[in-house]
C-alpha cells in the first residue's frame, strides 16, 4: 500500500515537472521575454542588461533549474500587462475562484447525488424520466448561455441578484472572502449555479448509471434473499459500492470545473483566476499563462492523489497486500 502511494506520488512529481517544462518553454521561446518586460522599443543596451539580469544567457538546463526553484518559491515572474509579480496577482485572484468552485461543487454534490439515486430507484417514473431529459439538456447547453439566461431573468428582469462582481468582501489575512456578507452571497449565487449546472447533470447521470449497475450485483440479490430491507440494500450496500467509480469519474470531472470556471467568471466578470487567464490569453501575457498552467497541473496532481487516498479508505481490497488463505 505504501509502495502504491509512493509510486503515485512519484508519477505526480514527474507530471508536474513535465508541465513545468512546457511552461518554461512557453515562457522563454514564445514571444520574447525581454520585449515583454522592457517593451518593444527598448534600446539594445537596455535589452542586453535585461538579458543579463534575467540570466537569459545561461545554459538551458540551468535556466530550467532556476525556473523550477522559482516555482517552488512561488515566484512566477512578472506579468507583461500589469508589470507586477504574477505571484501577487494570483494571491489576489485565487480566493475568488476557490470560493466559487467550492460553493458550486457543494451545490452539485448536494443536488446531483440524491437526484441520481432517485432516478435510479424509480427508473420508470415520470418524474425520473423528466429529470433525465433535463440532465441531458444541462450537459448540452453551453455554460455561458446558461449564465446569460440567468442574468437576463434574475438581474435584468427581476432585479433580484447582481450580475457581476463579488459583492461585499471581507479580508482575512491575505484571503478575501465573500461568504461572510449577505451581499457576497447574493453575488456568488448566480455564478455558482451556472458553474454547478453542468456538474449536477453529470453527477446525477453518473450516480444513476452506477446505481443501476450495482443493483444488479449478486450480493444485492443475496441480500434480498436473506431479507435485508430495501433501505439497507440501497443505502447501506449499493451506495457504498458506487462510491469508488463515482469518485474516480467525479475526480476526473473536477478538471472540467476549471474550464467552466473560466467561462463563468467571464460571464459574470468574477475577479478570479479564470478571468485573469482569459485576459492573459487576449493580451499574450505569457508569464500569467505559464503560471496558470503550472497551478492547474498542481491542482490535478493533488486531485489524483486525494482520489487514490480515498480509494484506499473505501475499498478494503486495495489495502491488503495478499489475501490470506484459510483452509476451506
Amino acid at each position: 500500500m505504501i509502495a502504491f502511494l509512493l509510486h503515485r506520488l512519484c508519477q505526480g512529481v514527474l507530471v508536474l515537472l513535465a508541465i513545468a517544462l512546457i511552461a518554461f518553454a512557453l515562457f522563454n521561446y514564445v514571444g520574447d521575454p525581454v520585449s515583454g518586460i522592457a517593451g518593444q522599443d527598448a534600446g539594445l543596451a537596455d535589452r542586453a542588461r535585461l538579458r543579463q539580469e534575467l540570466g537569459l544567457d545561461d545554459g538551458v538546463a540551468i535556466r530550467f533549474g532556476r525556473f523550477v526553484a522559482g516555482l517552488a518559491r512561488g515566484d512566477f515572474g512578472v506579468s507583461y500587462q500589469e508589470a507586477r509579480p504574477v505571484g501577487q496577482i494570483i494571491r489576489e485572484k485565487l480566493p475568488a475562484t476557490l470560493e466559487l468552485s467550492a460553493v458550486a461543487a457543494l451545490i452539485a454534490a448536494a443536488a446531483g447525488v440524491p437526484l441520481g439515486i432517485y432516478t435510479a430507484l424509480h427508473r420508470r417514473g415520470r418524474l425520473a424520466r423528466a429529470l433525465l431529459a433535463l440532465s441531458l439538456m444541462g450537459v448540452s447547453l453551453p455554460t455561458f448561455l446558461i449564465g446569460i439566461l440567468l442574468i437576463l431573468v434574475f438581474s435584468v428582469w427581476l432585479r433580484w441578484l447582481p450580475s457581476f462582481g463579488r459583492g461585499g468582501v471581507v479580508a482575512i489575512g491575505w484571503w478575501t472572502t465573500g461568504l461572510l456578507t449577505v451581499a457576497g452571497w447574493r453575488a456568488i449565487l448566480l455564478p455558482a449555479l451556472t458553474l454547478a449546472l453542468f456538474q449536477t447533470a453529470l453527477i446525477m447521470r453518473l450516480v444513476r448509471a452506477e446505481m443501476i449497475e450495482v443493483l444488479r450485483a449478486d450480493f444485492i440479490r443475496f441480500g434480498r434473499a436473506r431479507g435485508l430491507t430495501a433501505r439497507a440494500l440501497n443505502f447501506g450496500h449499493a451506495l457504498k459500492n458506487i462510491l469508488v467509480p463515482v469518485i474516480t469519474i467525479g475526480g476526473l470531472q473536477l478538471g472540467s470545473t476549471i474550464a467552466f470556471a473560466i467561462i463563468t467568471e467571464t460571464v459574470f466578470q468574477w475577479p478570479g483566476m479564470g478571468l485573469m487567464f482569459i485576459q492573459a490569453v487576449t493580451f499574450a501575457d505569457i508569464p500569467i499563462m505559464a503560471a496558470y498552467l503550472v497551478l492547474v497541473g498542481l491542482f490535478f496532481v493533488t486531485i489524483n492523489l486525494t482520489t487514490d487516498l480515498l480509494y484506499l479508505a473505501i475499498d478494503p481490497r486495495l489495502r491488503v497486500e495478499r489475501a490470506r488463505i484459510g483452509f476451506g
Binding site: A225, L228, G236, H237, A323, G326, G328
Partner: protein, 355 residues
C-alpha cells in the same frame, strides 16, 4: 431421522412460470409439482435453461420481472406464498425461506467485513443488541466450521478462500434458521476438493435444523452425495422424480438414462461417452407432445401427439408414455403420495448412509 409419511413442509403444485412478450406469453416452467419434507433434500437436476433456477427463484419470490408465476401454488407449512405481495414476501425471506447462490465471492459485499454482514442479517431478523448479535454471529461461524472465528469476523470477503466464503454464505442464509432453503448451484464455483465438505455441511445443518432443502444443480455427483430425492427437469417440466439413488442407478425416463450415460464413471465399463444428440429446446420452441421426443431413441407415435404426465415407473415417477401400461395412470395427487412413499425408502437407506 426417519419420518414415516412426513407432512411436506414445502409444496409446489402445478407451478407455471411465464415470460410475457409482445408476441404472447412464453412458458418457461410448466406443471412443476413436488413436495419436500422437513429435513429432506430434494435435488433439482437439469441442463442450463431447463427452468430449475427459475423454479427456485419463484419459491423465494425473486423472479425477475417480467417473468411471473402464471399458475399453480407454492405453499410453505400450508401457507400460500405465490400470491403474496413483495413486502410480505420480504418479511419471510431469511426468516422462513433462505437462499444460497452460486458464486460466494460475488454473493458477499466486498466492502464490509464478514462480521458486519452477519450482524446486519442477524439484527434484521432477531431482536438482539450488538453484543449479543456478535456472539450469535461467532456461534454461526463455528457452526459452519470456520476455525478461528474471532479473527475471521474482522476479515473482508476477499481475504477468505472460496470454501470459507461459501461457509460464510451458508451462515448468513441460516442465521435466522429458516425452515426452507433454496440452494442454487452452491458448489459449482468451488474447487472440487472443497465441494464435498460444503455439501456435507449443508446436509448436516439442514438435517439438524429440520429444514426442507431444494438443491438446484446440473451436477449429478452433487445429487448422489447430498440429495435424498431428485427431480429431473427438461424444457421447463419435471420428467422424472424419485429417490436419488434410484434416479442415478436405475433411471427410468429416457432423458435421465441418457444423462447418466453421458457421465464418465470410475469403475464403469470402458464404453464411449455418449452425448445426447440435439439440444434442449429453447423457450417458445418446445415441441408438441413430449418435449423430449425429437431426441428420444425410444420415441413412438403417441409421444409426438400427447404430452405425458408423471406416472409411476419403478420406485420413481416418470413423464413418459413407455410407462403408460401397467398400473392405471395415476393422477397428480397420487403421485405425491407415491413420492412420499419413495421418500420413506430413501430415509431407510439414509440410515446406512454416508454423510
Amino acid at each position: 431421522m426417519m419420518r414415516p409419511r412426513a407432512e411436506p413442509l414445502l409444496r409446489v403444485d402445478q407451478l407455471r412460470i411465464e415470460l410475457p412478450t409482445r408476441r404472447g406469453a412464453l412458458v418457461a416452467v410448466d406443471q412443476v409439482t413436488f413436495a419436500i419434507a422437513a429435513g429432506e433434500v430434494l435435488g433439482l437436476i437439469g441442463e442450463s435453461g431447463a427452468g430449475k433456477s427459475l423454479t427456485g427463484a419463484a419459491i423465494i419470490g425473486m423472479l425477475e420481472p417480467p417473468l411471473r408465476v402464471a399458475a399453480g401454488e407454492i405453499r410453505l407449512a400450508g401457507r400460500r406464498l405465490d400470491d403474496l405481495p413483495d413486502k410480505a414476501m420480504q418479511r419471510l425471506r431469511g426468516r422462513e425461506i433462505g437462499a444460497i447462490f452460486q458464486d460466494p465471492l460475488t454473493s458477499l459485499d466486498p466492502l464490509y467485513t464478514v462480521g458486519a454482514q452477519l450482524i446486519e442479517t442477524i439484527r434484521t431478523h432477531l431482536d438482539l443488541g450488538v453484543a449479543e448479535a456478535r456472539r450469535h454471529a461467532l456461534d454461526l461461524l463455528r457452526e459452519v466450521g470456520i476455525a478461528g472465528p474471532e479473527q475471521r469476523f474482522h476479515h473482508y470477503p476477499h481475504q477468505l478462500s472460496g470454501g470459507m466464503r461459501q461457509r460464510v454464505v451458508i451462515a448468513l442464509a441460516l442465521a435466522a434458521k429458516p425452515s426452507c432453503i433454496i440452494a442454487d448451484e452452491p458448489t459449482t464455483a468451488l474447487d472440487v476438493s472443497v465441494q464435498g465438505h460444503i455439501l456435507a455441511l449443508l446436509r448436516r445443518l439442514c438435517r439438524e435444523n429440520a429444514a426442507a432443502v431444494l438443491l438446484v444443480t446440473h451436477d449429478l455427483r452433487v445429487i448422489a452425495q447430498t440429495a435424498d430425492r431428485a427431480a429431473v427437469m427438461y424444457a421447463g417440466r419435471i420428467v422424472e422424480i424419485g429417490p436419488a439413488r434410484a434416479i442415478i442407478d436405475a433411471p427410468q425416463h429416457p432423458y435421465t438414462a441418457a444423462l447418466m450415460q453421458a457421465i464418465p464413471r470410475i469403475g464403469g465399463r470402458g464404453d464411449r461417452m455418449r452425448q445426447i444428440e440435439g439440444t434442449m429446446p429453447r423457450l417458445g420452441e418446445v415441441p408438441q407432445g413430449c418435449p423430449f421426443h425429437p431426441r428420444c431413441p425410444s420415441a413412438f407415435d403417441r409421444c409426438r401427439r400427447e404430452r405425458p404426465e408423471l406416472m409411476p415407473a419403478g420406485t420413481s415417477a416418470a413423464a413418459c408414455w413407455l410407462f403408460a401400461g401397467g398400473t392405471a395412470a395415476a393422477g397428480v395427487g397420487e403421485i405425491s403420495e407415491y413420492d412420499a412413499a419413495g421418500s420413506e425408502m430413501v430415509a431407510t437407506l439414509a440410515k446406512a448412509d454416508r454423510v
